[in-house]
């Protein structure tokens, strides 16, 4: 019983691997070219809000991948919504996840699946 509990606790603490290293690497470029002018090269905000840390996505916010990705894919870049390719949008999300303490893995983020994803998004950056 105790074992199961601590295993569950550990599972909650470790964020899932949702994207590939290749996605976040290309996401860094997408972000620098299309997002950094408003959200800051360090993601800490400017004309747009911070995309890193507890002021972006705390546990109390109860955000999901779907809610955040919908905002990105449907509204961003502000003023030119939908102007990037699906791959560029998923890469940008991968990059943002990587900066918020989510590990890379072997499965790539999928555009349509991410739009509807109910996986929690909680920044691991304090």
């Amino acid at each position: 019983m105790a074992l199961i509990l601590s295993a569950a606790g550990a599972a909650a603490a470790a964020p899932p691997a949702l994207y590939t290293a290749a996605q976040s690497a290309s996401g860094a470029t997408v972000f620098a070219q299309n997002c950094a002018m408003c959200h800051g090269a360090d993601l800490k905000g400017g004309a747009g809000p911070s995309l890193v840390g507890q002021s972006f996505a705390s546990a109390a916010n109860k955000y999901t991948i779907g809610a955040i990705f919908s905002e990105i894919a449907e509204q961003m870049p502000a003023g030119q919504p939908g102007s990037l390719t699906h791959d560029q949008y998923t890469a940008a999300l991968a990059y943002i996840l990587s900066k918020n303490g989510y590990p890379a893995g072997s499965t790539a983020l999928d555009y349509n699946a991410s739009l509807g994803s109910s996986v929690p998004l909680v920044s691991q950056v304090k």
Binding site: G46, G53, S55, A67, Q80
Partner: protein
């Protein structure tokens, strides 16, 4: 902006004088600096008579909201001799400077983006003190349209302002020391404050922002002396309130209606006038009904917060046509009849005249290319159903989501009988998308893109004069750049407004002739100019400091100004004799 204020340094330096400093403090007003007059506390009767005060005592100068100064020294004949009396020096914040400076005697109070407050000597520009409010990171999460602060309100010995994290803070006007600091909402869940408060009969009145985040709008009254909360009036009607049946079940809770621009006040009837913003989410198919009191003019009893009447400009809005532009009180004659009116150049593209004693429409005339509103029937704008977006339905319509006019204060000159209206000529495409509410995230349900207006090729902005007796345009100055700054009218017959290229312009109020163009002030102007007199001399002041909503949301139309220089600088002009 992390420097200690001059005044703090001054205090530290004099502290060493021991007994001497103590004696000084007893015989002089606390902040008296060389050449600075004793501070005149701002009474209710001063505010009631602000239209004839030499200073500029509140956001729109006086309770009428006309941005009209009664000074006559600067005229069409001598305005070309305007030169810089003093400037603040460059303030290195790369966000939009939307502040209206407030002047009482020879004290001037300004705010900058990110909620800093500075006091200057209004004649010399000597800095008296600076107060650097610390905005917590969580607040920036729900700031759609830059980190604006539009200014302070004065009461007694206090300078009072709102913050992006929804505090209202009162500073000692002579020292910048905090007297009270009250939180009226949490940061990060949708609300923010950018407007200047209004002080009426000893109460501080201030409204919330957050219409893009489903925040339920409210107007809050506080005791000016203590900050104690007195009343709070929500701008969306709950089921048990009149108008509650204009929402689907529960939708009023995330229904927006942010009253995010400073209102006006009629002392004759003791009525506050405040505009309410767009409904949330933007996609109207998610909230069938009129959605009262979004996009409405609210007439409120300042003693109790009770709603006396309302006039809704745009029912069941789906285009982001906030009803927050300043309700300006003016008397006018229309079709031979005299009215005590309110005039307002609305985001929906119509210039409204409303009887301020009854809330009934006098007239509404279109002032910009408009395909969203088909016309006025029975005193109400009729929306064009063909251009309402729905899930997977894309529409094209005008004006854009920034409106025919955005927040920039317009002005009214009773002598020319005209309103001076900064105007935006742009259209938009919009598509409905699914959205569900999550506190702190945008709550829109539409994607939207600014597009050029096919009816005005090559023209994004104009500055136009509207005859109050007809609602018709008298003159118009068109520009390739958007018109993105506020207006000032003066009794000398000169009207002022700034451009995104950083020039302050002076027009002949009657004819629209350009009389003067300032040198490049270093960055674009989005703020409203003011005018004041000290020791019998007239000054004109305005902030440069590009930013605000246009660079963030204009998309491709914003490209020519994407690299425009940033940073704020206050300029004060005088006429050289």
């Amino acid at each position: 902006m992390t420097k200690k204020s001059n005044f703090t340094r001054h205090l530290l330096a004099t502290a060493g004088w021991g007994v001497c400093a103590g004696l000084l403090a007893m015989s002089l007003p606390q902040s008296a600096q060389a050449g600075q007059d004793a501070y005149t506390p701002v009474t209710a009767s001063m505010l009631n008579g602000a239209q004839s005060n030499d200073g500029w005592l509140m956001f729109n100068r006086d309770y009428s909201g006309r941005n009209y100064a009664p000074f006559t020294q600067i005229t069409p004949q001598n305005v070309s001799k305007l030169s810089v009396a003093w400037t603040s020096g460059k303030i290195d914040i790369p966000d939009g400077f939307e502040d209206t400076p407030i002047v009482n005697g020879d004290y001037m109070f300004v705010t900058t983006p990110k909620d800093h407050v500075i006091a200057y000597n209004a004649v010399t520009g000597a800095k008296l003190w600076e107060y650097d409010y610390q905005v917590p990171a969580a607040a920036y999460k729900t700031v759609c349209c830059d980190t604006n602060n539009r200014g302070v309100a004065l009461s007694g010995n206090l300078a009072i302002f709102g913050t992006l994290d929804n505090h209202v803070v009162a500073l000692n006007a002579q020292t910048g020391a905090v007297v009270w600091n009250v939180s009226i909402e949490d940061p990060g869940i949708g609300y923010s404050i950018s407007e200047a408060p209004l002080v009426v009969n000893g109460k501080v009145i201030i409204g919330s922002g957050g219409g893009e985040y489903g925040a339920r709008g409210f107007i809050q009254a506080l005791d000016a002396q203590t900050g104690a909360k007195l009343w709070k009036t929500y701008t969306t009607a709950a089921p048990n309130q009149p108008g509650g049946d204009t929402w689907p079940a529960g939708a009023y809770k995330t229904g927006g209606g942010a009253p995010w621009m400073t209102g006006t006040y009629d002392p004759d009837t003791n009525t506050l006038f405040w505009g309410a913003g767009n409904p949330g989410p933007w996609l109207a198919t998610m909230r069938p009904g009129k959605n009262l009191y979004t996009d409405s003019l609210l007439a409120i009893d300042p003693d109790t917060g009770a709603l006396k009447w309302y006039y809704q400009y745009t029912a069941n809005d789906t285009w982001d046509y906030d009803g927050v532009n300043t309700p300006m009180l003016t008397n006018l004659t229309y079709k031979g009849k005299d009215y005590k009116a309110i005039v307002e150049a609305n985001r929906n593209g119509y210039f409204y005249a409303i009887d301020r004693t009854t809330g009934k429409l006098i007239y509404a005339k279109v002032f910009v290319h408009d395909t969203s509103i088909k016309g006025i029937v029975n005193g109400q704008a009729v929306g064009n159903d063909a251009v309402r977006p729905a899930l997977d339905k894309t529409i094209f319509t005008c004006p854009s989501f920034l409106g025919g006019k955005n927040w920039w204060p317009a002005a009214v000159d009773p002598a020319t009988n005209m309103a001076y209206v900064p105007t935006l000529h742009a259209c938009m495409s919009m598509t409905g998308v699914p959205v569900s509410y999550a506190a702190g995230l945008p709550f829109l349900g539409e994607t939207f893109k600014m597009e050029p207006d096919p009816a005005s090729p090559g023209v994004l902005g104009s500055f136009q004069a509207i005859d109050l007796s007809t609602g018709k345009q008298v003159w118009q100055k068109k520009t390739a750049a958007p018109w993105d700054g506020g207006a000032l009218a003066t009794a000398g017959g000169v009207v002022f407004s700034g451009t995104p290229n950083g020039h302050l312009l002076a027009f002949d109020g009657k004819t629209g002739k350009t009389l003067w163009k300032s040198p490049d002030l270093g960055s674009g102007i989005i703020a409203a100019p003011i005018s004041y007199e000290v020791n019998g001399k007239q000054y004109v002041a305005v902030w440069s400091g590009w930013g605000g909503v246009w660079p963030i949301w204009s998309g491709k139309l914003g490209a020519p100004l994407a690299k425009a220089p940033r940073g704020g600088q206050l300029y004060v002009f005088q006429v050289n004799q």
